[in-house]
Symmetry: C2
Subunit: 215 residues, 2 copies
């Protein structure tokens, strides 16, 4: 049986993919032992590129080649603009994050990289490029969330972040992203692979930056 | 006091705007006397450009110049991709519309025109162009829905179509669209005006095509 295009890209992204999925940041988040200051730094940086992520989703809506795909991206954009955005705001409040703590820290290099690659993918007007970035951003998160031990941490800041990335709707969305990449990616294989591999590297670098060894 | 940019465009669209808002199709829809075959023709044609409308919303998400605007368009795209799309499917079922009745009729000229202008506005990558089309598509619908006599028709096919275009969230969204057009439109006044006026003409032509005099 021929390897699916999305599986091929993922295989080629090793060992970086697995290093990100198994990162100390993730395992400590999932078992509830992540120190609050690390979670604060993470959420502040992660929320920084929600704007660029929505830009990328908008480009996916605009460039998708079927009505059904557009409807799925539209519903996902709705979820990101409501449930996921308010999660950040509720988490900042629960963690006592002051406005200055959100606005003053500089973007880490990976945060700046994420902003740039999402806008770059949107600017290509290539559905395949958008799909490549989205497959990593969502697929890698599903992959670690699926590995989270049960029961989940009591703290909603941890538990809800896991649940946002492991629930039936999200699993179905990631399966849809893979099927779409399998369908349209091979016609733009080099472009898709370039965006995919760079995004995987950013995911690992993002976790490394927020929770480096020795911190 | 200076006239707002959005108000100026609307004034210049008269008498076409008012002819659309006061069209026999709308008044009969609102008082519950619209014949079912006309409503079927209307919904079949209107659903045809939901795909292009989502493309335009995606472009608005991708080209908006603030995070807050992107969030609002994202939530609206979520609503269109869920509540509004399922309204069509439920209405088709309630009206006994067979698949062939949905697929076989040719696009009317205004339907083809809507598809084209929405994709054209999306392709400009101009936020002002997207806003101009959206201000007409949503603002003109709010304008007639606000005039609907109460109580509303019993038939959900009529009542829900009115409610989708006159509820607090929709009113707030139209106010947002106007404020955004006032803010960014003047810098691209000719482009915005061109899209705005052509879209108003299409709205009237769409109602005329689906419910011409004598039908």
């Amino acid at each position: 049986m021929t390897e699916r295009f999305s599986q091929s890209l993922r295989r080629q992204s090793e060992p970086t993919w697995s290093a990100a999925v198994g990162h100390r940041f993730v395992t400590r988040l999932c078992d509830g032992s992540l120190p609050d200051p690390i979670m604060v730094d993470y959420l502040v940086q992660d929320h920084r590129f929600l704007d660029s992520f929505l830009t990328l989703l908008g480009a996916a809506i605009a460039t998708a080649d079927t009505f059904e795909a557009r409807l799925r991206f539209g519903r996902f954009a709705g979820m990101i603009s409501s449930d996921e955005n308010t999660y950040f705001l509720r988490a900042f409040e629960a963690l006592g994050v002051r406005p200055a703590q959100r606005s003053e820290p500089a973007d880490t290099a990976p945060t700046a990289g994420f902003k740039a690659i999402m806008r770059e993918a949107a600017a290509t007007r290539s559905y395949a490029a958008a799909l490549a970035v989205l497959n990593v951003a969502e697929g890698l998160y599903l992959d670690w969330a699926l590995k989270a031990p049960k029961p989940m941490p009591d703290n909603f800041v941890h538990a809800e972040w896991i649940t946002l990335h492991d629930n039936p709707a999200f699993q179905a969305f990631v399966a849809f992203l893979q099927a779409e990449l399998d369908r349209v990616g091979p016609q733009e294989a080099a472009l898709a692979s370039d965006f995919y591999q760079r995004t995987v590297a950013l995911e690992l670098a993002f976790f490394d930056a927020v929770y480096p060894e020795g911190k």
